[in-house]
């Protein structure tokens, strides 16, 4: 072998296979770039911020809850399924005590083992402000979602006991919001949550590989994930926050991302003509007017509330949204196990609406006047202004003259939390509020709006609705541990809410996603929590 070959050519020849190997490996990695509608990557430390939608990005990807929502099926509503707990049971002697049997052999991404003490450590993290790991930010996210927990303790290495404040049969529905992170990783990162945010460790199907705040988060497949049915179909998912809807659509058209959330309705024809696929599904979300039933409110008359519900052509609103919504028949979609059989059929029936208004003493010439507070836009508010203008015109047809107070979403939340009775509402003549509601579980969908103990400011029963039948049903639900009985009682609550026309229900969001032809699989669950493991390239 000549010195020339040895010194100069050989290293090159040796490099070629390595380069080819590297190139092959790079090619072999499947990557899905996902344009999300948020302005930043949600918190990665365990409990995501930015609302319910964030759980699907940095919640149920990196972490697992004790009890999970089934989110990898699109053909029916998901149900509660075992997560890190294989079994949960209420103590027959004391119905406030719940015992959770934990899954064995599960490891956090850092290699430490998942055991009962990790559950208690995580509960302390968000509920015990004296614990060293307490994190106020994570606590603020999850505490309102797990309000029933009074105390908790380790029973043995794989059993945890949680005691609720009152008997609460719906308690399991709170637990998909509570995610379990690794205590060992927190120690390894110097007990610094800011450092954990960059190197988090959960037990979830993805690991966080890279975080560039406000720009991207790379999630890579956790090949050792305990639930083999939910092993990610894609090696890497890049989450890219693109809050502007048009910019998101442009990024998809340009090929910078492979799928996006909520494409703007007017771009849909262009997307579809270029071969992009639109997927949407029944989603637990409703876009309503929540009426005040306080004395002095024009909505105290049920005929007026029913007339408003009958005056709106919801199909036309769905068209306005280019099909990205479904007609609402109540707080819940008809497919929900809690829909029930309301006698009041919500539909577009102008003559019936006019007749009800006439009975109440109003006509087009002598209209009822009402002030509604609405958001100029924002998460969950769909196309707020055009939709509200549509409602305004529709109700004018039956003799309801609406005046809007348009505010930013953050301000609207203040009005919402304060309740209809508060000075900022009643004092300003505001008698209805338009706010998109997530209706993911019994508490979020029904009881928080219907139970008399939750009249604002004690809860978000904004209008002050009180109905003894509903209160009794909710009390029974709390002590009924049979899911079928729970479902029946919840259906009776919903039925009564609809029959009382508690709100003007307009449409349900269908949580649309636009996919490039490169995306081969994506199961859109009938839920806010979408399972990113189903994205396949």
């Amino acid at each position: 072998m000549s010195p020339l070959f040895r010194k100069q050519l050989a290293p090159w020849l040796l490099t070629v296979p390595a380069l080819l190997g590297a190139a092959f490996a790079a090619q072999a990695e499947t990557v899905a770039r996902y344009g999300i509608s948020m302005a930043d990557i949600p918190l990665t430390t365990g409990q995501p911020d930015r609302g319910a939608g964030a759980y699907q990005f940095t919640g149920h990807t990196i972490y697992d809850p004790l009890i999970a929502w089934e989110a990898n099926i699109g053909t029916r509503p998901g149900k509660l399924v075992p997560g890190l707990a294989t079994e949960w049971k209420v103590d027959p002697k004391d119905n406030k005590v719940w015992r959770f049997t934990l899954r064995k052999g599960v490891k956090f991404h850092d290699g430490s083992e998942f055991k009962a003490d990790a559950v208690v450590w995580n509960l302390d993290k968000v509920l015990n402000d004296k614990s060293p790991q307490f994190d106020a930010k994570q606590s603020a996210q999850v505490r309102p979602r797990i309000p029933s927990i009074a105390s908790y303790k380790v029973v043995d290495a794989y059993t945890v006991e949680i005691v609720t404040k009152d008997v609460d049969a719906l308690f399991p529905y709170q637990l998909p919001w509570f995610l379990i992170g690794s205590p060992a990783q927190w120690e390894a990162q110097g007990r610094d949550w800011a450092k954990v945010a960059v190197k988090p460790s959960g037990t979830g199907p993805f690991k966080l590989d890279k975080l560039v705040p406000r720009e991207r988060a790379d999630l890579v497949r956790n090949a050792a994930y305990w639930d083999k049915a939910r092993l990610p179909k894609t090696d890497r998912i890049v989450l890219m926050p693109i809050p502007d809807a048009l910019t998101r659509a442009n990024a998809l058209l340009n090929g910078q991302v492979d799928l996006i959330e909520t494409p703007p309705p007017d771009v849909l024809p262009q997307l579809q003509s270029r071969g992009f696929k639109l997927v949407q599904n029944v989603t637990p979300h409703v876009w309503p007017y929540h009426f005040s039933t306080q004395p002095g409110s024009p909505w105290t008359d049920i005929r007026v509330r029913k007339a408003a519900n009958l005056a709106v052509d919801r199909e036309a609103i769905v068209k306005l949204l280019n099909g990205q919504a479904s007609v609402a028949k109540g707080q819940l979609d008809k497919t929900s196990p809690w829909f029930g059989k309301p006698s009041f059929d919500i539909k577009y029936d102008l003559p019936a609406a006019r007749a009800l208004m006439a009975q109440a003493g109003y006509t087009k010439a002598n209209p009822l006047k009402a002030k509604v507070i609405i958001a100029q836009g924002g998460t969950g508010q769909m196309l707020s202004l055009p939709m509200n203008e549509f409602i305004q015109q529709s109700l004018a047809e039956v003799g309801i003259q609406l005046e809007f107070q348009v505010v930013e979403l953050e301000t609207l939340y203040l009005h919402w939390r304060s309740g209809a009775k508060a000075d900022m509402n009643a004092g300003k003549g505001i008698t209805a509020i338009n706010l998109g509601y997530v209706t993911a579980d019994p508490f979020y969908a029904l009881t928080r709006f219907a139970y008399s103990s939750y009249v604002a400011p004690n809860g978000v029963n904004w209008g002050g609705y009180e109905n003894k039948k509903v209160d009794d049903a909710i009390d029974k639900i709390r002590t009924s541990f049979d899911v079928k009985v729970q479902d029946q009682l919840l259906a009776s609550v919903h039925q009564q809410m609809v029959d009382d026309a508690l709100m003007l229900w307009v449409v349900h969001d269908t949580n649309p996603h636009a996919l490039s032809p490169k995306v081969k699989t994506f199961v859109q669950a009938q839920h806010w929590f979408q399972d990113l493991t189903t994205i396949g390239m």
Binding site: D40, E410, R417
Partner: protein
């Protein structure tokens, strides 16, 4: 000259202090609740109260201002309510992107503005003058975000030559002067450069036209000076004003690119401000506004210092 510089620096200090007061107060006067950024909308009252106390939002406004200012002068702008990240780091990271974008846009705008304005001033009524005038009118009146969308549709969607959003393939944390990153810069910079170009074209054209009509130029020509020598005199006379206008434009670009950065999801201070406003993230909002205002003050100070160097008459005044 030294007295002039000292005076300018001393003038800048109370302005900077005023900026801190205004940027602090304005944010608090705006409607909305900063706790919405961290607590779910239906968080119970006790959670809200605990958070208020934790973030010091339950203290009187002057006390909050005093504490904030004391930390700010040491470079600590607090932590973002929404993310918990240090505001100073957030703003500096975004600032590097904005400086890049605004710098490129300003350089392009000033260069073409001077060239077009200069030619238009020399050849008043000619074709170039008419084109320059039309372009400058369009430049100053066209909405940024609209132009950004049009450029995206033309050169990103219909002809996929440039990316539609972002600062680079790996995020701005990996900014490099490679082709891929430069491609990300083209459309937002092209959108942003239009305003300074329009304003500077108009300014330079007016200045050149005015200077050419002055007696000293007639005298210079009568003394037999060639066109290039006359041009040097004209340019020197126009330079201080152009410098002042360009300085203002750079300042505006630094802070005024909110819409363009939003349209292109460019991770700069405009995008950061937009996010902070929507999240009511008060520390982030205050920190970003403060830094941008201080940069504006600094640019004006720099212009004040440079002007007498270009035109010594100003130093003597």
């Amino acid at each position: 000259m030294i007295a002039y510089l000292l005076k300018r620096v001393l003038y800048a200090l109370p302005i900077a202090l005023g900026v801190t007061v205004v940027s602090f107060a304005l944010v608090y006067l705006a409607p909305g609740d900063p706790l919405n950024a961290i607590a779910p909308a239906d968080a119970p009252a006790e959670v809200i109260e605990a958070l208020k106390s934790q973030y010091g939002l339950d203290r009187p406004l002057p006390v909050r201002y005093g504490l904030w200012l004391a930390r700010a002068v040491q470079g600590d702008l607090g932590a973002s309510i929404a993310t918990g990240r240090a505001v100073a780091a957030e703003v500096l990271g975004a600032l590097s992107n904005t400086v890049l974008l605004a710098g490129v846009a300003a350089a392009v705008g000033v260069f073409f503005g001077c060239v077009l304005g200069g030619i238009a001033g020399y050849r008043q009524g000619g074709v170039v003058d008419r084109i320059a005038t039309a372009l400058s009118v369009v430049g100053v009146s066209i909405p940024h975000y609209w132009l950004g969308l049009v450029l995206t549709i033309l050169f990103s969607i219909q002809r996929p030559w440039f990316p539609a959003m972002g600062a680079g393939p790996g995020g701005s944390g990996e900014w490099l002067w490679d082709l891929e990153h430069i491609r990300h810069l083209v459309l937002p910079a092209a959108t942003l450069c239009v305003i300074p170009m329009g304003i500077i074209t108009r300014t330079v054209r007016a200045l050149v036209a005015d200077t050419l009509n002055q007696e000293f130029v007639v005298a210079l020509r009568a003394r037999g000076l060639g066109p290039s020598a006359v041009f040097r005199h004209v340019a020197r006379n126009a330079a201080p004003t152009v410098l002042a206008v360009a300085g203002l434009q750079v300042g505006y670009l630094m802070g005024g690119s909110i819409l363009v950065e939003t349209v292109f999801a460019w991770p700069g201070t405009g995008f950061l401000l937009n996010t902070a406003i929507f999240q009511r993230d008060i520390p982030l909002l205050q920190g970003t506004i403060l830094v941008l205002c201080l940069i504006f003050v600094a640019i004006n100070l720099l212009v004040d210092i440079l002007q007498p160097l270009v035109d010594p008459r100003m130093g003597r005044a």
